[in-house]
């Protein structure tokens, strides 16, 4: 079961089954202590800088680098999708996929946050021309 962990040296927050051995922010070893979601959210809210659409695009391009998938080269489609992702964040709190509907179960809906775990989806898995549900990510073309 995933839990929140806090680095007691620098307040880095980790959400997962177990925390990293070495804190990626301050390099302290074995420094994470389990915490609750209220504290974790409060610590994260100290970071007031929000990511804009251009920065999000850069982030998902960086994520795709040297991977078997890439950001869809169809710029018009990507622009529409990112607009939807940001509309969903504004209206519903998180960057939900604009091509699926939230269930209102917060835990279940975490699976809809972009980028999602699309490798397991029927639209991507074992498909030479696979793509994520919405088409923001596609399987990398040989010349791509």
């Amino acid at each position: 079961m995933k839990k929140f962990y806090r680095c007691h040296v620098c307040n880095d927050i980790h959400y997962g089954v177990k925390p990293p051995e070495i804190c990626p922010t301050c390099s302290a070893k074995n420094a994470y202590v389990e915490t609750n979601s209220d504290e974790a959210i409060k610590i994260c809210s100290y970071t007031t800088k929000s990511i804009n659409k251009q920065e999000f695009l850069k982030a998902i391009e960086a994520l795709s680098e040297n991977k078997e998938f890439q950001v869809n080269p169809d710029k018009e489609k990507v622009s529409m999708l990112i607009e939807g992702i940001f509309q969903n964040e504004k209206n519903h709190g998180l960057k939900y996929c604009p091509c699926r509907l939230s269930s209102k179960d917060p835990k279940k809906d975490l699976m809809l946050v972009c980028p999602c775990r699309f490798f397991i989806h029927e639209t991507y898995k074992n498909k030479p021309d696979g793509e994520c549900w919405c088409g923001l990510f596609i399987r990398r073309k040989e010349n791509g």
Partner: protein
Amino acid sequence: MAKLIMFHGRECPHCKVMMPLVDKLEKETGLSIEKLEVWHNEKNADLMRSYRDIIEPKCGGQLRTPTFFNTENQDVICGEMEYEKLKEWASG
């Protein structure tokens, strides 16, 4: 309530692709398909969620857009598709 419903998202590119096909189908067949946007209209979203048990098993376990739902025979198809497939669903 309408017999034929298209659940769609305003920023969903698959929905954008399907819209002209839905318009063509309505003109050709005289059928009416109610278009319900689900990310900016909570009432429409709740209606789609109320059909979750019927829609999800036929759409990869998800509530996807676009989803085409026939309230009479509960036939469901989702995603982008050829015009003929859409027509077949609508003629259900």
